[in-house]
Symmetry: C2
Subunit: 384 residues, 2 copies
């Protein structure tokens, strides 16, 4: 360490925004009180917590009461899936869901809806997978591999039709629409009504807030069982003394990325274009995956058939350039493959896949150097 | 706020030690990387996490591998109880367990072992409650109400006898001994071998570390199911990108309280004696509950029959003196009563109960003033 680092892996983790650290600071020391305590200090902690909840709710166009603060997106996913599916019924998930979704859903009857070669949900296949026992449909807002932005409102209309059809046939099984917004939250609109979802996961650690803080928004009609029971906090859905500093930091982080998202999307989009153009010129047979238009502005997925991408990542590491191959939030490389298979990549294309995800730590003036180093690493590995 | 506050509720929440905040700082910004990432930054985050795990393990005399970092003690409790009991079998808990234990165990067959009037576990009753289906026995290290320190090693010997008896009779049901060390961890020895336990919960938010961070230690023989599944973190028992800053802060907090516990116990014991003596002199009919000897040095539980303790707490709040009546980690006052009932307090004695818990924010020179204000509040309320 010590030398300059070029961080191109914002989908794996984001640094806390200095403004977020500043916002959290008082709640570690001065206002450290238990929000359930009745004295003034406890009430001040409670107010900070509820104000954080209101900020998050305001951003997604929901009521504060319907936001449950959790200890991270993975917990939110578990709460949503176990909470709904432990009551019975089946789930349908898209083929590009996060590993946490895929892992948890394995405990319950479920099926997987196809995506096309660009990672976009196949709505016909989705419709076919849904039967009268389906209670939960999960389509990520934008996936962590390709950054393909899913047409959630179209899926919502599809589900609305199915619900209406069920009603006319007297089928009373509920059908909830869940989305994990962890990757999309920093750059996309999060209005839950516009998206048409019933449940949404948010992730502080991926939007320049503290790690292991998150939220699950639940439409009032959604009934879930708690995962963690205790003193009745978070209306009984998440026991344990509340993480006030974390909630305040998360709310500030989400507020900042959402306030700045149009400018940041433009900025990152320009860097992405420059990177893609430079890499294309330097490595002519490089293939860019994902959707040409419906893509997160900072997301680049690419492959070179036959390349040992893992060695490229190691090589770049020695030069202080951090990019990803296997999904970084998992120790297990195999957890990434399902998404790559789903878009039709062969094994040798998947092994030759690299992911670059841009964010706050990237600047346009770094592109020539980083693109050159990445291209050089690819060519070097290829020559071996 | 703004005026001087006298905080006498350290059992509800503790402020982050400034040294802990300092230790966490780099992991919010400089070393924010995902510990699962393969590049140098990720490895540095991983090293910090594993170093935190080693520190916690060293303190309790365990192997790092057997420590699972969780998002708080309540989650640890849920992981321990659900993790063991979802496989079948019954639990026996002491009558002074934390509300989270009482809440979670309600999902499973269980019974409650009596305590005596001082809050000490009744070992004969405990033995009687255990039958061949019992897989889990839970006795808190020191309870949050009275601060009574339980004789865990004696209970461990009892359980050892039962295990041996089972073996001779060919009964293969395992019998695990669980303890929640949340309240005792700052001032007591935590050696798991000396205590004779198989599972232990630790709580960062109660030892001057960040909130919603904790650990569950599991003896290698204990098999539990995960609560939160995801990317395989924490050897599959707690999915989600790890809270490196939180783990580092927690380890530093636990290290500090354990390094300083003998001096701090002496210091708090002296303040407690002074407070008890002064209050006894000012309110002659005040009764101090709990155990005269086996008691946490900073814990005072007292009652005045017929007093409206809640109004006393409100009154003191207006003077900046923060003490507790109902268990502060719960919004529901009723959750406190089982412990008070268990030691034989009548309803009007329970309603007249106050809890003072001392810690870092208390100094001997504040005793005359705070004791006088507390006594004055009691007398004022009584006069109404």
């Amino acid at each position: 360490m010590g030398e300059r680092v070029y961080y191109l892996d914002h989908a794996a983790a984001t640094p806390c925004d200095p403004r977020v650290i500043e916002a959290m600071r008082p709640y570690f020391s001065d206002v450290f009180y238990n929000p359930s305590a009745s004295y003034a200090g406890g009430r001040a902690a409670r107010e900070a917590l509820e104000s954080a909840r209101s900020i998050v709710a305001g951003i997604i166009g929901a009521k504060p009461y319907d936001i449950v603060f959790t200890a991270g997106a993975t917990e939110s996913i578990n709460l949503a899936f176990r909470g709904v599916l432990s009551g019975g019924g089946k789930a349908v998930i898209s083929a590009v869901e996060h590993v946490a979704v895929r892992r948890v859903v394995e405990n319950y009857p479920h099926s997987v809806a196809k995506v096309d070669t660009r990672g976009l949900i196949d709505q016909d296949d989705l419709r076919e997978q849904i039967d009268d026992e389906t209670v939960l449909v999960s389509v990520v807002l934008a996936d962590n591999e390709f950054g393909t932005v899913q047409p959630l409102s179209a899926v919502a209309r599809l589900l609305k039709d199915i619900r209406e059809d069920r009603r006319t046939r007297g089928v009373v099984t509920p059908l909830y629409f869940y989305t994990d917004a962890s990757q999309g939250q920093s750059l996309l609109d999060l209005g839950v009504s516009r998206l048409g979802v019933d449940m949404m996961t948010l992730n502080s650690g991926k939007c320049y807030g503290p790690k292991q803080v998150g939220a699950l928004w639940l439409k009032p009609s959604v009934r879930v069982q708690p995962l963690v029971e205790g003193g009745g906090q978070e209306r009984g859905l998440r026991g344990g003394t509340e993480n006030v500093a974390g909630a305040v930091g998360f709310a500030e982080a989400l507020r900042l990325v959402q306030a700045e998202r149009h400018d940041e999307a433009k900025r990152l989009g320009a860097i992405k274009k420059q990177l893609v153009d430079t890499l294309s010129a330097l490595v002519p047979d490089i293939v860019f995956d994902g959707h040409p238009k419906r893509s997160l502005p900072g997301h680049i997925h690419m492959h070179v058939d036959g390349l040992d991408a893992e060695r490229v990542v190691f090589h770049l590491d020695t030069e202080g350039v951090y990019i990803a191959t296997g999904a970084a939030c998992s120790a297990n490389k195999a957890t990434r493959l399902p998404s790559l298979e789903a878009v039709g990549l062969t094994e040798s294309q998947a092994d030759g896949s690299l992911r670059i995800t841009l964010g706050h730590l990237n600047a346009a003036e770094d592109v020539p150097y980083t693109a050159e180093r990445i291209a050089h690493a690819i060519q070097t590995e290829r020559a071996l």
